[in-house]
């Protein structure tokens, strides 16, 4: 049982404001040794702010922080690291042109001019083996998938030997298997006396992994409870403030004729290695075709060749019977293939543009938005105001800088822009990654609506629950090939999982 002497870190009446927004309102929580403690809440509930206060990145406006019973002032992350507090941020802070080893060795605290890569490699090799993580230590960070980068961040923190590890939405980019692996690693760490603060908005994970859970809503601590004493529904109600529907109602729709046909796609990734090795599939009108797979099996490259950003080395893509392999991204968009990239910030939006400008990105030359040679500002803003209303985008005005929007609203801006073009086909790469329940519910609803309207949707996702609840069929991609396609009602999670690991069915 938990007693007070085992408290690692504790906040008392912690309040943090950003201008007029209260991000944390008199929050008092304690975190114990050898405990996995979830911070649960929707985006904007104040989870990350609280964690950043504990990590010394932000300083509370009032209230206190106690570390092992002693009052501390954390004026920078350096102070926190000295106390053995490590944090893995939601947006990675890795140096992309450097290798995994260099990243880890570089941020090591040892005061040495030279990087000891050999020692780092040895210790890292040991750590990877201990936790059963496969990671190419010599690969450059930019060449890694998002999931792999996440491992680098976690290993970096573990490498220092922290005794309190804060993880901000660590599973947002992991496959179920990777997430399970992470959970087992965290379980091992917990046994060794490490404390984990686990920030998430996924209820299932809270139930699976944490000993205790604190629910935040609009900056206030709603409750801290033992996980074993509550149900998922209880937590959802505390988190959202209302009852939440977990099961999506999907009506059977009759799949239409083929709209996007990919045959034997071959291409290489940025490292010059084969990423697609003959992937084939057919997407129909009124169909959601899910693409399941572990991160780094060619999903990214598949998305890029379908949207014209990456050139094919072989194969054929036909849209409504016409080849599109030589078309530019712009031409492909104009044909009616909309897309949602998985990295909204670096690939989907111009963060320094206004929301209105982002809503016409790619259509800036359309006659609709032009008056003679000039952009029709009034029309752009009016249409933005409409879209902001229709898609419930929370933005003070169409002229607000996109940078100031929350993650869910950023995704809604992309969705609004893409759907505003009345696409015939939508290619979405992890459209709900890292978003909170409310927004996910909303996006799922929109996708099903589009399907009803006859749009063919290719849904690339690493979230199997999402694929099972939305897709009509699920195609599993493994090492750049579609190894098996399942009809969703007949498929089991286990079968699909096995295929993703490369031990399932036969190539079709």
């Amino acid at each position: 049982m938990i007693d007070n002497s085992s408290i690692v870190i504790e906040t008392k009446n912690l309040t943090k404001r950003f201008q007029n927004v209260v991000a944390n309102d008199c929050v008092s929580i304690d975190f114990h040794r050898g405990e996995i403690h979830s911070l649960l809440g929707e985006n904007g509930a104040g989870k990350t702010t609280l964690a950043e206060c504990l990590f010394g990145f932000y300083q509370p406006d009032s209230g206190e922080i106690y570390h092992k019973g002693k009052r501390v002032t954390l004026s920078s992350p350096r102070d926190a690291i000295k106390l053995g507090i490590g944090m893995v941020h939601q947006h990675f802070v890795l140096i992309r042109p450097f290798s995994v080893l260099e990243n880890i060795a570089m941020s090591s605290l040892k005061k040495s001019v030279l990087l000891d890569l050999t020692a780092t490699e040895q210790k890292m090799g040991f750590l990877c083996e201990q936790y059963g993580i496969t990671l190419d230590l010599h690969a450059k960070v930019w060449q890694l998938s998002v999931g792999e980068q996440q491992w680098v961040e976690i290993l970096k923190a573990v490498y220092y030997g922290v005794d309190l590890l804060i993880l901000d939405e660590p599973t947002a980019s992991l496959t179920p298997q990777e997430a399970n692996q992470l959970f087992s690693v965290l379980g091992q760490m917990k046994k060794q006396g490490l404390s984990v603060i686990f920030i998430t908005h996924k209820l299932k994970e809270v139930m699976d992994i944490s000993d205790r859970v604190s629910v935040l809503r609009k900056g206030k601590l709603i409750d801290t409870v033992m996980t074993s004493e509550v149900t998922k529904e209880d937590l959802a109600r505390k988190m959202v403030g209302r009852d939440v529907v977990f099961q999506i109602k999907k009506d059977r729709s009759t799949i239409g004729e083929p709209i996007l046909k990919a045959t034997n796609l071959r291409t290489q990734n940025d490292r010059g290695l084969d990423a697609l090795r003959g992937a084939s599939f057919t997407l129909h009108k009124s169909e959601i075709l899910g693409i399941a797979g572990i991160a780094g099996n060619g999903q990214r490259e598949l998305f890029e060749v379908l949207t014209g950003i990456r050139r094919l080395k072989g194969g054929e893509i036909q849209f409504n019977g016409k080849s599109i392999i030589n078309n530019s991204p712009e031409e492909i968009k104009n044909l009616g293939i909309a897309h949602i990239p998985d990295d909204r910030i670096s690939e989907g939006l111009i963060m320094d543009f206004s929301v209105a400008d982002n809503l016409i990105l790619g259509r800036q030359r359309d006659k609709d938005y032009r008056k003679g040679p000039f952009l029709d500002r009034k029309k752009i803003i009016d249409s933005a105001a409409d879209l902001i209303r229709i898609f419930n985008i929370v933005s003070p005005s169409p002229l607000n800088r996109t940078r100031f929007l929350s993650g869910g609203n950023l995704q809604k801006v992309i969705l609004a822009r893409e759907l505003n073009r009345d696409p015939k086909c939508l290619v979405a790469n992890q459209p709900t990654r890292g978003l909170d329940v409310g927004v996910i519910e909303y996006i799922h609803g929109r996708l099903l609506e589009l399907r009803k309207l006859g749009v063919g949707i290719l849904l690339i996702s690493e979230d199997l629950d999402e694929l099972f609840s939305l897709s009509d069929r699920i195609a599993v991609v493994y090492r750049g090939e579609i190894v098996e396609t399942f009809n969703t009602p007949d498929a089991s999670l286990e079968e699909v999982g096995l295929c993703m690991a490369g031990t399932g069915g036969v190539s079709i």
Binding site: T73, T307, E330, L349
Partner: protein, 357 residues
């Protein structure tokens, strides 16, 4: 309980205009202090020095007009920098593009000398624009094809162009009646019209103002300007969302080169009236400083360039009245830029008083 008061530097979420103006004032004050210090080191009377700079720059009506003359090429090279830098293309080749503009315009002048004045004027200006554009296109093309950094290629092109001109002036285009490397004087019919009698203020100044207006409209009101800004902020997203970034880069570099080329024609046909290898006093490089100080805003380039034009003239008077070499002007330019950039970076932060016990 003992109360400890400390200071903490925090990042601001929004930088208010007041803070920006404040930082600018501080930068100017510090620049003046540093310049004064240099005068002290140079054993000159500081007050006299500043008065000399002011008088030389804007002290009289004539000095002011002459400052506008000096500002003319600076406005253009500043604009050339603005459009390139807004797209995050680091064109450092304004100096070479200016010279190429002068060279091609001079070539056109020699070929079409017999045209009536208005037609000749239009032709030389057109050729200056084309020459600059081609000179801007080359590094952009090399970047697009072979991913060679444009900073390197544009700087190298500066030297190539200047030595090429030196060759032209020592041979084919040399004025045989002179010892110096220079062309014969431009015929009066080809010279840029003077805007005010008894001054050197020429048509180029009007062209520079028009160029600033056009670039302002282009960048902030047209689809191309939208694409230029999008590419500058985030080239990856621009590419993903269907903007042809290679094409945009080529266009931007051609516009940038053309604008610098126009500066070359202005100096050749408006001020120097001969093709020489020193028609530019580093205007290409000064243009970069001006663009930075103008915050990459096309219209803001005009006042900053006029200020710098004045500074150049002021430093000439400084040299004659005190013993300080006019080269001090380059030091002042650099000082202003450094303090300004420093102040702008600092205005993003604020000082907060923290209390703890």
């Amino acid at each position: 309980m003992k109360l400890k008061i400390g200071f903490k530097v925090e990042k601001r979420k929004n930088v208010s205009p007041a803070a920006q103006i404040m930082s600018l004032m501080i930068a100017l004050l510090l620049s003046a202090l540093a310049t004064g210090l240099l005068m002290v080191i140079g054993k000159a009377n500081v007050a006299e020095g500043f008065i000399a700079i002011y008088k030389g720059a804007f002290g009289t009506w004539k000095a002011s007009i002459e400052s506008l003359v000096k500002a003319t090429p600076l406005i253009l090279t500043g604009l050339a920098t603005v459009i390139a830098f807004r797209a995050r293309i680091w064109n450092i080749g304004q100096e070479g593009q200016l010279y190429i503009g002068a060279i091609t315009a001079y070539w056109a002048y020699t070929q079409f000398t017999d045209l009536p004045p208005a037609a000749l004027l239009t032709t030389t200006i057109l050729f200056a624009l084309i020459g600059g554009a081609v000179c801007g296109f080359m590094p952009a093309f090399i970047k697009a094809k072979f991913a060679v950094d444009e900073i390197i290629t544009t700087i190298m092109l500066n030297y190539i162009v200047i030595y090429f001109l030196s060759w032209l002036l020592s041979g084919p285009w040399k004025d045989p009646s002179h010892y110096y490397q220079q062309s014969p004087t431009i015929l009066e019919k080809a010279q840029f019209p003077i805007l005010m009698v008894h001054t050197r203020l020429h048509l180029g100044f009007i062209l520079a103002i028009v160029a600033a207006l056009i670039l302002y409209l282009l960048i902030s009101k047209t689809p191309l300007g939208y694409e230029i800004q999008a590419m500058g902020f985030n080239p990856t997203a621009s590419r993903f969302q269907g903007i042809n970034v290679v094409k945009t880069m080529l266009i931007v570099m051609m516009i940038s080169g053309a604008v610098s080329g126009l500066a070359g024609a202005g100096e050749l046909f408006g001020v120097i009236l001969r093709l020489k290898s020193n028609i530019s006093l580093g205007y290409g490089y000064t243009g970069i400083i001006i663009a930075m100080l103008a915050g990459l805003e096309p219209l803001a380039v005009i006042p900053v360039a006029i200020l710098f034009g004045g500074l150049i003239n002021g430093s000439f008077l400084l040299q004659t009245t005190t013993n300080i070499p006019s080269a001090l002007v380059y030091v002042i330019q650099a000082i202003v830029l450094l303090f300004f950039l420093g102040a702008r970076a600092a205005s993003v932060y604020r000082l907060r008083i923290t209390k703890s016990d």
